[in-house]
């Protein structure tokens, strides 16, 4: 099942009189359950593509179908709703709310959700997510009391609280040492394998990319390579464009 389909997406930034094309016609489709690494040198347009995929930005031209919905024409509020219900984000610098306990950080997106959960239910769900990322005993800890890997796991729990089909990770291991990086990546693999969550990682670390089962390489605003990587789940089909 095609979860994401991009049709000749372009993005051009206007700098005064000069227009700077960043994405020059990207066509791509991603099926549910893929674990994708989006790589490329800096300035290749991978962050811009990520922002468009994450509905944070709108393409200048082209179509973006997400879960059967054309999103390139949605308003800012409609995109916010979409981000809340269908997309999860994990950032390089975790972006946890300071002086806010882990469980409250995880429950935060629920307050913007369309469905009305009581405080009790929200707490229960956040606790459940934290247990799933292995932090059941750290619920009331503040971010400053957690290690980097634990913080990133809290961020993953937060990204998954609304049960989105897609998870975006922007350099998820950029601020972690190699050991905790490995833990986080294993968690991604586990989520991908057990829950069928589609994960799209932006990275330029080949070791991280090696965990993916499909690797998309960007260069100068176009897709240069799209191939199944030698990931740990070789049985999953890759390269579906």
């Amino acid at each position: 099942m095609e979860l994401i389909t991009l049709r000749s997406i372009t993005k051009t930034y206007q700098m005064g009189d000069i227009s700077v094309p960043v994405l020059k016609g990207i066509s791509l489709s991603i099926r549910q359950g893929e674990l994708i690494a989006l790589t490329g040198s800096s300035g290749s347009g991978k962050s811009t593509l990520m922002n468009i995929l994450g509905c944070l930005d709108r393409p200048t031209d082209g179509e973006y179908w997400l879960d059967g919905q054309e999103t390139s024409t949605l308003s800012a509020d409609e995109r916010a709703l979409l981000r809340n219900s269908k997309l999860g984000f994990v950032f390089q610098s975790f972006n946890l709310l300071a002086r806010t306990s882990a469980i409250e950080n995880v429950a935060m997106p629920l307050s913007y959700a369309a469905e009305d959960l009581s405080e009790r239910e929200a707490k229960d769900r956040a606790a459940e997510m934290l247990v799933r990322v292995g932090l059941g005993d750290r619920m009331d800890h503040l971010p400053s009391q957690l290690s980097g890997g634990q913080q990133q796991r809290v961020a993953i729990a937060r990204a998954l609280i609304n049960r989105p089909p897609v998870l975006f990770a922007d350099e998820p291991t950029g601020n972690l040492d190699s050991k905790t990086s490995e833990e986080v990546l294993q968690m991604f693999e586990q989520l991908n394998a057990e829950d069928g969550i589609t994960i799209i990682m932006v990275t330029h670390d080949p070791k991280v990319a090696g965990h993916a089962n499909r690797m998309i390489r960007m260069e100068d605003g176009v897709i240069q390579g799209d191939a199944p990587a030698a990931g740990p789940n070789p049985e999953l089909p890759g390269g579906a464009s």
Partner: protein, 455 residues
């Protein structure tokens, strides 16, 4: 996003930085407490001032009979004999803007006690209402005469402080008897001293007595005689048993007993010199004048187009002073209040702007996980309003406490004003919304991509 959740999020955000939140509210706390304290102390001062000016007679109207003239010779104001005690009662009964009305007759003659004598400035014959009209109800000693004394023409009187000094040389006068034109009067009370009025007239140099007593026993005459001193300085000898010693010639032709029996006079004709009236408030004076004019014209059967046979005078100067003072006071308080609240509001805006900049990444994150612009706007707006309301509540407590302290320490008059408290709550919420809006709006307009990248 529900209001409740928004409020909780806002509270949580504030709790994350309690020191800053407290400093932010400090401006509002000081502002509101200053407003409340100023309002309460100011209202007390204003009320005290108003009372003082009112006691000088700002609400008082004087009705005097009009001018009589004969052969082109005008006898001056107060020389017709048309004003009656019944007019006074009718005014009180029929004019809603009138609080009280007292008929008055005046006399000026010698007063004797023991081997001392004195001619007071004025001897007023009146009713107990006079004390109320003049805001003089609290006596220094004794008690006022009653309506019954007025009806019976009892020989009782109240002395002014100056008279007590002149006649009694400081010893207690209550219960003693003085003589006014050889009529004995029992002193039943002493007025609280008022001092001189604005014209330099010693207000304590008076005797108050029932008007019936003065009218029928002392002067025995209407004041048609323009020269009162001749009327008073009668040289006929009185005995104490003679109730009406200075009876003058009758106003009407002598009637025989048969005439009396056939046509009894329906009214006891008694004219008075003036009516003292107090209006409900100085603001109601114009209305009171209109109502009194209507009542008196009707009672005196004056046709349309004919001139009034009476004059109504108000204390315009005092009234003006009163309203100017009150207005000045209110405006002053308002100005102080506004300045302190605006300063507090600017403080809130400042801190909120800093807070928005500082929390740019948080805003970006909230937007990334699905917060819409309006959710962010609401969150920051609620934060500002919560800060302001909390500050307002603290300010009310502090301000009220402050004014109570002033009351107990300095014995200043203080008036609790629920209106000021309500206004303070509304204004502090308003300040929160007005000064919180710009930072909140700025936050809601952030681009999530930029915000997330912000360092």
């Amino acid at each position: 996003m529900k209001v409740y959740t928004t409020a909780r999020t806002a509270l949580r955000a504030l709790r994350r930085n309690p020191m800053r939140a407290m400093l932010t509210t400090l401006g509002i706390v000081i502002g509101v407490s200053a407003v409340i304290a100023m309002m309460e102390i100011g209202a007390g001062a204003s009320a005290a001032l108003k009372k003082t000016i009112a006691s000088m007679g700002a609400n008082v109207l004087v009705v005097r009979p009009g001018t009589a003239s004969s052969g082109g010779v005008s006898f001056g104001s107060g020389t017709t004999t048309t004003l009656t005690p019944e007019d006074s009662q009718a005014i009180l009964r029929e004019c809603p803007s009138v609080r009280n009305a007292a008929p008055m007759v005046r006399a000026r003659t010698q007063v004797v006690y023991g081997n001392r004598n004195w001619v007071p400035n004025a001897i007023y014959g009146t009713t107990p209402a006079y004390l109320d009209v003049q805001d003089w109800s609290i006596l220094a000693e004794g008690e006022p005469f009653s309506e019954r004394d007025v009806l019976n023409g009892n020989r009782v009187c109240i002395l002014g402080k100056s008279l007590v000094r002149e006649l009694f040389e400081g010893e207690s006068s209550v219960g003693k008897e003085i003589r006014i034109k050889n009529i004995t009067f029992k002193v039943i009370g002493v007025l609280t001293p008022k001092g001189a009025n604005m014209m330099g007239f010693d207000q304590d140099d008076v005797i108050l007595a029932p008007w019936t007593t003065i009218k029928y026993r002392v002067t025995g005459a209407s004041l048609t005689n323009t020269n009162q001193s001749t009327a008073a300085a009668t040289d006929s000898v009185n005995t104490l048993s003679n109730l009406y010693p200075t009876a003058q010639r009758s106003l009407y032709p002598e009637r025989s007993k048969i005439q009396e029996a056939n046509n009894p006079m329906p009214v006891r004709f008694a004219n008075i010199d003036q009516i003292m009236i107090s209006a409900n408030s100085s603001a109601e004076i114009p209305m009171a004048i209109e109502q009194i004019t209507g009542v008196l014209r009707e009672r005196h059967r004056i046709r349309n187009g004919e001139p009034d046979d009476f004059n109504i005078r108000d204390m315009a100067e005092l009234t003006k002073t009163l309203s100017t003072t009150t207005k000045l006071m209110t405006n002053l308080l308002l100005a102080v209040a506004m300045i302190s609240l605006v300063v507090g509001g600017v403080g809130i805006m400042n801190i909120m702007l800093v807070s928005v900049t500082e929390r740019t990444r948080e805003i970006g994150l909230r937007m990334a996980v699905g917060a819409r612009g309006q959710d962010i706007l609401r969150q920051f707006l609620v934060e500002a309003v919560v800060l302001c309301l909390a500050g307002g509540a603290m300010g009310i407590v502090l301000g009220h406490g402050g004014s109570l302290l002033v009351k107990f320490l300095f014995k200043w008059p203080v008036e609790t004003s629920p209106a000021a408290i309500a206004a303070a709550v509304l204004v502090s919420a308003g300040v929160g919304i007005i000064f919180g809006f710009y930072p909140a709006w700025k936050a809601s307009r952030l681009d999530p991509i930029e915000a997330l990248r912000y360092e």
